[in-house]
């Protein structure tokens, strides 16, 4: 049975934005999983932060939580603690996950909650009209850095590996076929499944040509030390000599957050709780 992935909301991304490709890959991943009966449509929930990426909340027909800037990840942590059976997709931006929300990003990698994290990485704050983010290359001239961005970029892939993410991948929004495939794998993975999705911003930071010329696919997942080595092949700078590896760097099955705390779907496990007078009696001396 075909499911409806469309919403009535008018799309307000810039024409030609690779966010459209991420949206269509996500819709495809969800509908294929539902139509092949691997999941129910109502099980899917998207959480988003604030930024261009966050608009996806309005454009994809799944349950959704449009959170605060940088906080799509902790909201998702709560969702899986409240109902571990939901299929959560966390959409975040690079400013969102790597600047404002970096503490949640690294600690959630350790905690290993079961959801897929898709970071729309355009290496720029776009909805605020073009300022550097933690993945912007040094020297980038933006409105807040007219003399060029003064700091080196961070590498979210090696950081995710360092902090224990149990599924780490990089994809390119333009390669929608591979993106859809990896998104599906991430949703099916039990644990913190992170994809850094390169998504050039046509308005403020168009690195289409740089990335397009340098990407290559490798056969993953790799053993941990090899994955880390592969992760460090590109440091998110605009180094002309760099090659950019694409694919699944690392994958392991490890105890999830929900398993560690033995969480459950509380509202069905305990539809009615009662006042427990015995609890006050325990203070009796």
């Amino acid at each position: 049975m075909k499911i409806n992935m469309e919403t009535p909301v008018q799309n307000t991304w810039c024409p030609g934005c690779p966010d459209f490709l991420i949206l269509s890959a996500a819709k495809k991943a969800v509908s294929e999983l539902v139509e092949s009966k691997q999941a129910k449509h109502t099980d899917f929930v998207a959480t988003t932060g604030i930024g261009c990426h966050g608009k996806i909340y309005d454009f994809i027909n799944v349950g959704g939580f449009y959170g605060l800037h940088g906080r799509a990840i902790p909201v998702a942590n709560g969702i899986v603690l409240g109902n571990p059976n939901l299929k959560v997709m966390v959409f975040a931006g690079d400013g969102d996950a790597y600047a404002e929300g970096i503490s949640h990003f690294v600690h959630s990698a350790r905690m290993n909650p079961n959801y897929a994290l898709f970071v729309h990485n355009n290496k720029i704050f776009a909805l605020t009209t073009g300022q550097m983010t933690p993945t912007t290359e040094k020297g980038f001239k933006g409105k807040s850095t007219p003399k060029g961005a003064p700091f080196i970029p961070m590498n979210p892939i090696s950081i995710a590996l360092e902090f224990g993410a149990s599924f780490v991948a990089r994809e390119y929004a333009v390669d929608i076929k591979n993106l859809t495939k990896t998104m599906k794998a991430a949703i099916k993975h039990k644990g913190f499944a992170f994809i850094d999705i390169l998504q050039p911003c046509l308005s403020f930071h168009d690195f289409t040509e740089y990335v397009g010329k340098r990407i290559y696919r490798f056969k993953g997942p790799l053993e941990y030390t090899k994955a880390m080595k592969k992760a460090k092949e590109w440091d998110y700078s605009m180094n002309p000599k760099a090659k950019i590896p694409m694919g699944i760097f690392y994958k392991e099955r490890r105890q999830t957050l929900e398993e560690a705390v033995d969480s459950k779907t509380w509202h069905t496990a305990h539809p009615k709780r009662k006042i427990n007078a015995r609890l006050w009696d325990s203070f009796k001396v």
Partner: protein, 542 residues
């Protein structure tokens, strides 16, 4: 019959444990014990002390002078100056009336140095002329170490040759409950249908995290997360998924949560916050008490939205009011803050009755159909709530239409803002039925206060003739008409608050137009003592 015991020593010497043993013994014999706990921000070394005020009538506060003092630490000599006339002291320091060489005594019976407090406890029982067996019974809590501690207590009892001030009383009737504010909030929350407690450690809220994490036979989870921002956002995520959730913190953590408190207002996901104050600003005096965060909590969170702030005055109320917090939060999809402080959280009180719970825990979850409207416009402003996964349920930080889709349309924005404002009026009506204020005593003199000052005020007004106490339990929605009427009926009005500015006066002025100029304030991190407050009230009402 009333007396007070000081137990003072270095952190790590078993001060709190000793206080607990004595308390439980007297409470088990039908007396009322108030146990004040004073400790610094340190784990070993430095000074800790407990004050046990014990009476055959209910007592809810301490005094600053005692009749007996057990003093064992290097830093505790100052307690010797804080004895009532005829008071006696026992300890290891020079200057105490009866001094023990606990080191040698313990060596003789092969007991570890940690048992020094047991020697002194034994001596105290002799000084009070109390049956040592009662103490021994309480010592069973030490398990396999009970034997050696009983031996030490016997030694202290036998070797005590100082002044004996017999405490005599007849055994009180009926059950007695000995409970701290932290315990009452934690157990009250479980009784209110709690599923998840999320927190990041911060004094003085942490005991609730510990209690819930160690609670057995209850199907709930307490989870420590990465920081306060992670905690509150996760709590809203869990609430969206259908769980009944509480989080806990103190002022600094509450400040970090600020943005997401406002997210609660927009997303309308039920949330209960346990907020235990300590003196600020900033790190302040972390292990002491204060009420200076009240206006911050009442006003916190950007934008216009409804919330509820409840300030229980003692553990019995904390249990009762926690159930109301959950009920209101789930039913009206609002933020509900249980405002406590270190004094209420970490003092132990004795009660002879059980809490009376006026509301039933309920999830207030609907079974949604297709095209569920998370933000349906209703007459009372309350939209039916559904758990994520039961339909395509939406929750959002953006202004939205009834389905939860983002909008910037001015017509829809007005409709939704007004929907949320109607909820404020609905809440006011609901809260008016839950005794949002309480009054005690009669007279033309009116004491107005809120929160943990209740104990000292109740104990003090018995000795200040013609004094009525108005306790404001619901700080938001503010019970304006009740407060206004009582102020207008009274001749003299005085505010009592554990803060430097008397913030409740501003709240009263804002809501009733009455300004209260007389204030009794205390802001050194310590609670009001009973006698101290009697003197201050007499002066204020002169």
């Amino acid at each position: 019959m009333e007396f007070q015991i000081t137990i003072a020593g270095e952190a790590g010497q078993g001060i709190a444990r000793s206080a607990d043993l004595i308390s439980r013994d007297f409470v088990s014999r039908g007396l009322y014990v108030f146990n004040y706990r004073d400790y610094g921000s340190l784990i070993r070394g430095g000074e800790n002390f407990n004050l046990l005020r014990i009476s055959n009538k209910p007592v809810y506060s301490n005094n600053w002078k005692s009749d007996f003092a057990l003093v064992f630490g290097r830093f505790s000599g100052h307690h010797l100056k804080k004895l009532n006339m005829g008071g006696t002291s026992i300890g290891t320091l020079p200057g105490v009336k009866t001094s023990f060489n606990t080191h040698d005594m313990l060596k003789k019976i092969g007991a570890p140095s940690i048992s020094a407090n047991s020697i002194l406890l034994g001596a105290l029982y002799k000084a009070m002329d109390q049956p040592l067996n009662n103490l021994m019974t309480q010592m069973n809590v030490f398990g396999k170490h009970a034997g050696i501690n009983k031996k030490a207590a016997q030694l202290g009892y036998d070797q005590y040759g100082g002044q004996v001030k017999p405490i005599s009383f007849s055994k009180g009737k009926g059950p007695r409950y000995f409970v701290s504010g932290s315990e009452a909030v934690a157990y009250g929350a479980v009784s209110s249908g709690l599923d998840l407690y999320l927190a990041y450690p911060m004094t003085p809220a942490t005991p609730v995290l510990h209690l819930l994490a160690n609670l057995k036979n209850q199907d709930i989870r307490a989870v420590q997360l990465e920081n306060e921002i992670g905690v509150i956002n996760a709590a809203l995520g869990a609430g969206y998924a259908g769980a009944t959730t509480m989080i806990g913190t103190s002022g600094g953590g509450y400040a970090l949560m600020g943005e997401a408190l406002s997210l609660q207002g927009m997303s309308e996901i039920p949330l209960v916050v346990y907020m235990a104050m300590r003196p600020g600003p900033a790190t302040g005096i972390p292990t002491y008490t204060g009420q200076g965060d009240m206006k911050f909590v009442v006003n916190g969170g950007h934008g216009d939205y409804s919330k509820v702030v409840i300030a229980p005055g003692d553990p019995l109320e904390a249990f009762e009011r926690t159930t109301e917090a959950f009920y209101l939060s789930q039913k009206y999809r609002v933020l509900n803050v249980i405002l406590s402080d270190k004094h209420l959280a970490e003092s132990n009180y004795t009660f002879d009755k059980k809490p009376v719970v006026k509301v039933k825990p309920q999830r207030f979850l609907t079974k949604p159909g297709k095209n569920f409207k998370s933000y349906k416009v209703t007459a009372d402003g309350v939209s039916p709530r559904a758990a994520a996964g039961t339909s395509l349920v939406r929750a959002t930080s953006y202004e939205h239409d009834e389905f939860g889709y983002t909008t910037e349309d001015r017509g829809i924005a007005n409709t939704m803002i007004e929907k949320r404002l109607r909820k404020a009026r609905t809440l006011e009506k609901a809260v008016s039925k839950l005794s949002p204020v309480k009054t005690y005593g009669t007279g033309d003199n009116l004491v107005i206060s809120w929160g943990s000052t209740k104990g000292a005020i109740l104990d003090a007004i018995k000795e200040v003739k013609g004094t009525k106490f108005l306790q404001i339990v619901y700080l938001k929605p503010f019970p304006s008409s009740r407060v206004k009427t009582l102020i207008e009926k009274s001749k003299n009005v005085v505010i009592v608050e554990n803060s430097a500015t008397g913030q409740i006066a501003d709240l009263i002025a804002e809501n009733t137009g009455h300004s209260a100029s007389k204030k009794i304030l205390k802001y050194d991190g310590r609670p009001f003592g009973q006698k101290e407050l009697v003197a201050k009230l007499r002066r204020a009402f002169k």
